[in-house]
């Protein structure tokens, strides 16, 4: 998959990803319409299907609202790449099927507007603009299985409960 980068800082919290004033919304398109609103007011107008969010440390800190990863996924972002993720956001992303990759080097070198191509299965990130390649950390097999199944509930619905660790 390929697309253009939106680059953000360290400690992007879920309040700026999806402000609490929209928490009573639940439709995916309604949440996407306010994605990143308090951090980057141009995001919604500019984002194209397949684009990437690249950020620093502790992406998605704060509130446990799943509305935040849902808004990002529904906006067309194909993967969030960060130096690190806050733990609830990390779980939520995996659980709902929003692709994420953790990679310090990519997070520090990639710039806004760079064109990327990634391979989720291998964790390989190609920066077409800078001619660089980065290798993101992998996931434990059980989490990879869950992501492949389409998220936690899809996994449970397939009666795979017994194969959880």
């Amino acid at each position: 998959m390929g697309g253009t980068v939106f680059k953000y800082r360290d400690n992007v919290d879920t309040d700026v990803i999806l402000p609490a004033r929209y928490l009573s919304l639940s439709k995916r398109e309604d949440l996407a319409a306010h994605c990143m609103e308090d951090l980057d007011r141009e995001f919604v107008a500019r984002v194209q299907p397949g684009d990437f969010i690249v950020a620093g440390e502790n992406f998605g800190c704060g509130s446990s609202r799943e509305h935040a990863p849902i808004a990002i996924l529904s906006s067309g972002i194909s993967c969030v790449i960060a130096a690190s993720f806050a733990r609830i956001f990390y779980r939520n992303a995996i659980n709902i099927g929003l692709p994420i990759l953790e990679c310090q080097e990519a997070a520090s070198e990639i710039r806004a507007g760079d064109k990327l191509e990634i391979n989720l299965a291998s964790g390989k990130i190609r920066n077409l603009t800078q001619g660089r390649t980065y290798q993101a950390g992998g996931f434990p097999p059980f989490l990879q299985d869950m992501m492949d199944a389409g998220g936690l509930l899809a996994y449970l619905a397939k009666k795979k409960e017994e194969v959880l660790p």
Partner: protein, 419 residues
């Protein structure tokens, strides 16, 4: 190898003698909690995947607190959906209307939390219950749905930071100053993916309400959970609330920790966390004189009876500055009644404060005190992110009830000793 308190709770809940940091385990849940904001998504997701039952209706608690009493039509629809789900599934622990309260004050108060238990809640401040020696952590709606359905969920066993407490709090210094100071020391990701485990001679002197405040904000350092050892204070609190048997855990003496942080309570001062991160912590004096437009005293962090008593101590016989809107929010109906019985609410109203029904209210910009452009609020809540309480360029300074009440009287940032 020895285990931490948290690791022991995981071992017990996944049927193993021993677990280590980094293990992926499937833990049996003692309780699953959700709110009017997070439960609707969980309910929709269960429907979508055809998950038509819950594992145990008595181990699920739904609390309508964020946008309740319903602030608008959409909020009303969310609460109605949760209410209908509770009826369908036979979930009797549904808190709404006259039984309402802020979830993280309500659940311990109503006896839903006991030492050694494993709890998830679809709200990041679920880490509050570690004050009672339980493992509890915040999750998203999908995890809540999985927990409600399966009665289990997956966890990565965390490593721990040990925080060793000595000394005793000075006057006007308490749990809020301690946890803000700790977050200031280690940063908003200083405990990411980790437990914060408290130990030390000072713990016996830390009241339960302060322990709740301290554990509540562990998430603001990125922690998975925070946990206090169980002592006589804990048992006294549980007496009359929890009747089921429980078995507390203690950390092994050879448990290993990522690091140990020593904090002498005697050296702590009243502090504020300035916008826009809870780790921007400095002594109150640093911000002295800043004009304040609003003060909020309440929230799952500081809406308990001892918080209200501290606010009353400062506000007694004084008037809130005429340019300050001061909103005081008892966290539960029980606390509300206690505050009435002690004459606190009358005192607050005489001082010129607005007293609200229990609700999360303004903490996340919902209602009951949303901020306008460029307004500044000193608040006992837990987050000061951009736009958290309203307009994008409004400002929140996080503080203890003592500091917040003092600022309400002065109309500017001051230390409690100064009013």
């Amino acid at each position: 190898m020895g285990m931490t308190m948290t690791q022991k709770i995981f071992a017990r809940h996944c049927g193993r003698q021993e677990v280590q940091a980094g293990d992926l385990v499937y833990g049996a849940l003692d309780l699953v909690m959700g709110s009017d904001v997070t439960a609707p998504i969980a309910i929709h997701e269960m429907e979508k995947y055809g998950l038509k039952r819950v594992f145990d209706p008595n181990k699920i608690v739904l609390v309508m607190d964020h946008f309740a009493p319903n602030k608008d039509i959409r909020s009303a629809q969310n609460c109605a959906l949760a209410r209908q789900f509770a009826q369908q599934m036979g979930i009797s622990h549904f808190y709404d209307g006259g039984r309402m309260g802020i979830e993280h004050a309500l659940l311990p108060e109503q006896g839903f939390v006991a030492p050694g238990e494993l709890i998830i809640g679809a709200d990041s401040h679920t880490c509050t219950y570690g004050a009672l020696g339980a493992f509890s952590t915040g999750v998203g709606s999908t995890d809540m749905a999985a927990g409600m359905y399966a009665g289990k969920n997956w966890f990565k066993v965390p490593a721990a930071i040990l925080v060793n407490l000595t000394g005793r709090f000075s006057e006007y210094v308490g749990g809020k100053d301690l946890i803000l100071s700790l977050i200031g020391m280690i940063g908003v990701d200083g405990a990411r993916y980790k437990s914060i485990e408290f130990t030390g001679e000072a713990i016996a002197g830390i009241p339960m309400d302060d322990r709740f405040t301290i554990c509540n904000m562990a998430i603001e350092a990125g922690a998975k959970n925070a946990i206090f050892p169980v002592d006589q204070n804990t048992l006294d609190y549980l007496s009359g609330r929890v009747s089921r048997p429980f078995v507390p855990v203690e950390a092994d003496t050879d448990a290993s920790y990522v690091c140990t942080i020593d904090i002498n309570l005697s050296q702590l001062r009243p502090v504020l966390a300035a916008p826009f991160l809870p780790s921007n912590v400095k002594p109150v004096e640093h911000f002295r004189g800043l004009r304040v437009d609003q003060v909020v005293i309440g929230c799952c962090t500081n809406g308990r009876i001892s918080d209200l008593r501290m606010a009353a101590r400062i506000l007694k016989g004084r008037k809130i500055s005429e340019h300050v809107r001061c909103v005081i929010i008892p966290a539960t109906q029980e606390i509300y009644l206690q505050a009435i019985a002690e004459g606190l609410l009358e005192l607050f109203i005489q001082a010129g404060a607005t007293v609200s029904m229990p609700t999360c209210g303004p903490c996340n910009g919902g209602h009951v005190g949303v901020l306008s452009d460029h307004e500044r609020c000193v608040s006992t809540t837990n987050r000061n992110f951009v736009g958290r309480m309203g307009a994008r360029d409004s400002e929140i300074y996080l503080a203890s009830p003592a500091v917040a009440a003092a600022c309400a009287v002065a109309g500017t940032v001051v230390s409690p000793e100064e009013v």
